[in-house]
Symmetry: C7
Subunit: 101 residues, 7 copies
């Protein structure tokens, strides 16, 4: 497999993210069955592409950087499996917001 | 959860708003049942993104600022829950108007 | 309610208009039943937005001003109720024409 | 009624035209029943808008002027009644051609 | 009728053409029934518009001139009857090619 | 017929190509029935247009030249019969690749 | 056949890739039946086009080069058979990412 042990560098304005682990228990300590777990829309930015290219071929840098915690839209994104771990690729423009660090 | 206790900074030209509380009573003091309460289209601007990026990568500032009272379109917007409170993300261009302060 | 007693400032290239009152009687003085009243397509401009923003963030002023009498398209526009009065928001580019003052 | 006795100034690149009267008789003098009258696609230009606005807000003048006789497309246009007379608004770009004066 | 005895000047990037007469006989001299006659896609350019206008209002001249023999696409074009003769209006960009003169 | 004995000059960014003859036999010499013959996607460039025109009316030259062997997309193109021979018109941007000469 | 023994040079911003061979055995050495083999989304870049042309006719170079290992989207791409080997053409902008070399 090409990707074994190698980092994936997103192309253009794509952002590689890893969603946070869902909360397994309520605040009161009660186990949350998988089905009831809300879809996690917050994620960690793992890697970013150079940015989209404009009419002149200049690259427009993206608006987030590796390490940022971001809020993803409910839908969209491309699932990517790297060494059996689940990542997602989103376009820079589709990421809703950044959690203040 | 990533967002606990942290502010959400909208990205690009997105605007984070919180709708006003619906009127619970008519002017005559009669309770308005929830179903009959008109959908609140006025809201407070909580946070704004840096603005959309143009072909040169320059950011075009948005047309509203935190603290503005605005009129929202009837549809659209992305619901965002932060610490169990309900917020909405709208694009700058979709907000209909500002109430004179 | 946020809007009580406050003016609404349209955003971008939106135009706030108030339709003229329909004619209640024919020229011959006969009452016109509500159903038969033609939809009023003429209106007064109440307030205008700063204009649309172009690629450089510059604002392109709109083509009408408060006080103009304008001809509206048959369809479109967003109904807005302010202090129980009915207004409409149209995009500058959708307004068909101005009646010579 | 707003328009009574006042001229309509088209906005943007709109052109106000009045269609020519249909031929009521064949060349041989035979009356043509209304149903058989071909839809008149030629019209007189009554008034023209300032033109469409480009990215810089500059107005691009239209390609016809009041008094021109023009050929209209078979479909399209917005019907406008002014003092019980029938006019049409077309976009400058939709008018097919000008009859040589 | 507006057009009687007057030339039609196409507007923008429109091209006025007249299709060639279909071949009535095969090379062997056999009459071709109307139904079997292939749709004539070659035509003579009669008149051309000034050209499309760009963002600055400059006119971009068209790529053919009156007198050229051109190859039309199988579909499209607007039929125009002038003094009982059949013409077609095509956009400059839709004309497939020119026959070498 | 207009085209008799005359070359067709494609307009804009169109490319006139002639597909290669299909292989009639397998490598082992067995006749391939017409139905089984793969659709030929390689072709010879016969003539090229001046290129598409940009906003300023400047012509953007195409990326292939007469004599090139090219790879066509499986679908698309406009069939053109010239003196009973079959040619195709493709847009420059739709041609997939060039075979190294 | 035109392509025999000749390289294909992709046109515009197209990228010619060859997918990696699928894993035939699990890590534990068990044969994976063809049906169960995941669609290989990693591939080697074989050849790249000059890049897309912008409004001025300038070529915008692509973001990958021959020899790169890339991650393809799950769908899309044009299958191309060259000397009985299977290749794919993708647009530069559709390639998701590069595996760090």
């Amino acid at each position: 497999m090409a990707g074994i042990g190698r980092r994936l560098i997103p192309l253009m304005d794509r952002i590689l993210v890893q969603r946070f682990e869902p909360e397994l228990k309520t605040k009161g300590g009660i186990m949350i069955p998988e089905k009831a777990q809300a879809k996690i829309q917050s994620a960690k930015v793992i890697a970013v592409g150079p940015g989209a290219r404009n009419e002149k071929g200049e690259t427009i840098p993206v608006g987030v950087k590796p390490g940022d915690d971001v809020l993803l839209p409910e839908y969209g994104g491309t699932k990517v499996e790297i060494e059996e771990k689940e990542f997602y690729l989103f376009r820079d423009g589709d990421i809703l917001g950044k959690w203040e660090s």
